[in-house]
């Protein structure tokens, strides 16, 4: 079999970026949650908030550290595998990605250190301020990344001179048509991630009967937040979908599994899309519902995959099913948020075993939903790398061979498998040590390295006392 450098590079990028994305998506949500806890502590002086903030700051430190490590690879991927794309779009992409880096740089240079290590060394107000600035910094980072991605989805403000794109208008290039939907969709996704992880871990502690007071408080607050943000995500997702319908109709056709353009299009719940024969197998559908959702009219007209030639269609099966996984998990999240509301009576939200076990299981759902969502938008853009302007094939590094791409793909999988296992294993140890461990402020050896991970005091191996 001939090794295809294009396919292997796409798999490699998908792997590296999916792996990387789960860390920032968690830290963005968690940073805001910690700032909120710090704010509550500042206002009420209730030590329960401080203990929770301490515990989650440790978790934040570990996840942030892993995000930084996996992010290093990202900043080189564009050049190694997609050099034609990087070269053509560098006038825009270069400054935007650099701004993301200097935002993170700036953040780490100041406020992160104060937030992680300054609790007993700076005034309370300043510590709260640092936590807020870290939260703000995560949004600014997200801004640059999503701006770059939105330009690839709905390009604007660029001007082609020779082989290179020049930025004709920074305002248009940074704030393209899909930017605001994408940005808010991602921010809310981060809140959902932070929310469901906090809820899941609190539920796990409650099931074990540990630190019931603090965890009940955390769970109650988180459930109120989820009650607002889970349905909001549905609304923002809907707007995002309408914007996609306007600018990338083929992607929407793939999401819906709709081959023929038509009116009164049904919503397909289940199907096996068949790219080659241009149809679906085993369809289960609800009449006219897709038209209603996307055009807000039962007889609205929707684009079909057959509108464009076969080589301009994305891989339908992946887009179709990734979209269903994302939406399905979203609906499940809303269900849990409302179940929490109904279980308020008598405080059963903090005692009902099935509900708590469900929350523990749900803590991985936002990660799956986020990665599935990125698959929808990225795979759905295929064959375009920059929509309508440059295909994946045109953006690939010309000197890249299949063997080289396979070598690094396997390499990155091995490297990430090791750090991911070590990181997740350590995170589990932090969870096991729990909130109780944060009461112990003694200085330990690993404190001497003032690194993000040093904010966590838990030893790596079971039974060790570091």
């Amino acid at each position: 079999m001939e090794l295809d450098p294009l396919l292997l590079s796409r798999i490699q990028f998908a792997f590296v970026v999916s792996f990387h994305a789960i860390f920032p998506v968690f830290t963005i949500g968690l940073a805001s949650y910690i700032a909120l806890l710090e704010g509550l502590f500042f206002k009420t002086n209730n030590p329960a908030w401080e203990r929770l903030a301490k515990f989650w700051t440790q978790v934040f430190a570990v996840v942030f550290g892993m995000g930084v490590v996996s992010g290093i690879v990202m900043s080189f991927q564009f050049g190694t595998n997609w050099s034609n794309f990087s070269y053509a779009t560098a006038n825009f992409l270069g400054p935007v990605l650099s701004y993301e880096v200097i935002t993170a740089f700036f953040l780490e240079a100041g406020f992160l250190g104060v937030m992680l290590f300054g609790r007993n060394k700076v005034p309370k107000g300043l510590h709260l301020f640092a936590a807020c600035m870290v939260a703000l910094g995560t949004f600014i980072s997200a801004f640059w990344i999503l701006s770059a991605n939105s330009l690839m989805q709905t390009p604007a403000g660029l001007e082609l001179r020779g082989e290179l794109y020049h930025v004709a208008s920074w305002a248009e290039a940074l704030f393209t048509a899909s930017f605001f939907y994408r940005f808010w969709h991602m921010v809310i996704a981060s809140f959902l991630t932070g929310g469901f992880v906090v809820a899941g871990v609190s539920a796990w502690f409650l099931l074990k009967g540990r630190e019931v007071e603090a965890n009940k408080k955390a769970l109650s607050m988180t459930l109120w937040l989820l009650l607002i943000i889970a349905p909001s995500q549905l609304l923002i997702g809907d707007y995002h979908g309408l914007s996609t319908l306007e600018h990338q109709p083929t992607k929407v056709a793939a999401m819906e599994g709709n081959w023929e353009r038509g009116t009164g299009v049904p919503l397909i719940l289940f199907a096996i899309p068949d790219q080659e024969n241009e149809k679906n197998h085993f369809e289960i559908k609800i009449p006219k519902l897709a038209s209603l959702i996307l055009t807000h009219d039962f007889d609205g007209e929707l684009p079909g995959l057959l509108d464009v030639p076969a080589e301009e269609r994305p891989p339908v099966f992946i887009v179709f099913w990734a979209f269903r996984i994302m939406v399905g998990l979203g609906v499940l999240m809303i269900g849990f948020a409302f179940a929490g509301l109904f279980l308020r009576a008598g405080g059963r939200f903090a005692s009902s075993p099935w509900f708590l076990k469900g929350l523990v299981a749900m803590s991985v759902s936002p990660f799956i939903a986020v990665v599935a969502g990125w698959f929808v938008t990225e795979v759905g853009r295929a064959p375009w790398l920059v929509y309508g302007l440059m295909t994946h094939a045109e953006g690939l590094t010309p000197s890249l061979t299949g063997g080289m791409a396979l070598f690094t793909l396997i390499g990155y999988i091995l490297v990430y498998a090791v750090i991911f296992s070590a990181g997740v294993y350590y995170l589990m140890r932090v969870f096991q040590a729990g909130i109780e461990a944060t009461d112990d402020d003694k200085e330990v050896e690993s404190d001497h390295a003032k690194r993000p991970l040093s904010a966590a005091h838990v030893p790596l191996e079971q039974g060790d006392k570091a």
């Binding site: 290093i72 690879v73 564009f78 050099s83 240079a109 290179l164 930025v167 010309p398 000197s399 070590a422």
Partner: protein, 335 residues
């Protein structure tokens, strides 16, 4: 398009050059600890060595990420030729840096698995440094390009010459590491650092000498620049020798700070000599800094943000080195 009012390319050469020097000397001394790791007298010395860089290594490494992104913004051609040409080397460097970074995090939290993290730290440091040294060699050697694209093979970068420059940088970083250790340690660990520094210095000088003879043999441009007549460039090797002499004297007198300072001088003068050997070519043999530069408005857009951020980063870096001043004692970390 109206012509740019002011040429920012030269400013960006300065910024990227500054960032590169910062990266090489800062990450150089902490990579150096890893290179010296297998040779350390005992486990306690290894603790001290790692502690002597643990609070600063990741800030040091951030210069690499900033350099990567800054190159894409200011000199995209460098980014889009170097990375494809060095594809395998870049992967090895990144994988090595990641393992090394994880080792920093977990070595202190581990007991039973500590020896594994020692190996990850030493191996990662060695491979990452070797790859960086090979980049230097590849730069001297030049790139096969056509129409602003790399058209050579996957392993063109791996030649006897680049293997040699790779090993050269390993020894160079080891020297940075040992002089840093003189500054930060005491007792038998410092004695050990004093003992190995002159040997490393001799090795570095021999390697620099060989690279100096070998380079003109493989690159005519460089040969013309250095040997077509009397040139001011000849001062640079003399400056390098001066710093080498200073290192030697400072070690003999058992001074603690000067060996490191003089090693920094040695690195900077070598770097300047390298840049002027190839100037104005940044993707030799075909493209200059100006060929590689991005559009004026893109350079300007990023420059504004950078001018705002760099002072803060420098202030913070200076502050964290200040907090971290003094000796790292055995059996404890820094205070």
């Amino acid at each position: 398009m109206n012509a740019p009012v002011f040429d920012l390319t030269l400013i960006w050469v300065g910024i990227i050059g500054f960032g590169l020097v910062m990266y090489v000397i800062l990450d150089g001394f902490d990579l150096g600890q890893g290179i010296l790791y297998p040779f350390a007298p005992d486990e306690q010395a290894r603790d001290v060595m790692m502690n002597s860089v643990a609070p600063v290594w990741d800030a040091n490494e951030t210069w690499l990420v900033l350099g990567g992104a800054g190159l894409l913004a200011a000199f995209p051609l460098v980014y889009t030729v170097f990375l494809p040409a060095l594809y395998i080397g870049v992967f090895l460097m990144l994988a090595a840096l990641i393992f090394r970074g994880v080792a920093f995090e977990f070595r202190f939290k581990a007991n039973k698995s500590r020896y594994l993290w020692n190996w990850a730290f030493a191996g990662g440091s060695f491979i990452a440094t070797f790859a960086q040294g090979a980049v230097v060699g590849t730069y001297i050697q030049g790139f096969e390009t056509e129409n602003f694209r790399y058209v050579g093979g996957a392993l063109d970068w791996l030649t006897p010459f680049t293997v040699f420059t790779g090993i050269g940088l390993v020894v160079g970083y080891a020297l940075l590491g040992s002089t840093w250790l003189i500054l930060k340690s005491e007792g038998y660990i410092q004695d050990w650092a004093y003992k190995i520094t002159p040997r490393l210095l001799v090795a570095v000088l021999v390697i620099f000498g060989i690279v100096g003879i070998w380079s003109p043999m493989i690159d005519d441009f460089l040969k013309d620049r250095w040997f077509s007549g009397v040139t001011l460039l000849w001062v640079l090797p003399l400056i390098t020798l001066f710093f080498a002499g200073w290192i030697y004297r400072a070690v003999k007198k058992r001074q603690e700070g000067y060996p490191f300072v003089a090693t920094l001088g040695l690195f900077v003068s070598t770097f300047v000599a390298l840049v002027f050997s190839k100037w104005p070519y940044v993707v030799p043999p075909n493209y200059t800094f100006w060929d590689a530069a991005s559009a004026h408005e893109s350079q300007l857009f990023l420059l504004l943000g950078l001018l705002f951020v760099i002072p803060f980063v420098l202030m913070y870096s200076a502050w964290s080195y200040w907090v971290f001043r003094g000796k790292v004692k055995a059996g404890e970390g820094y205070h």
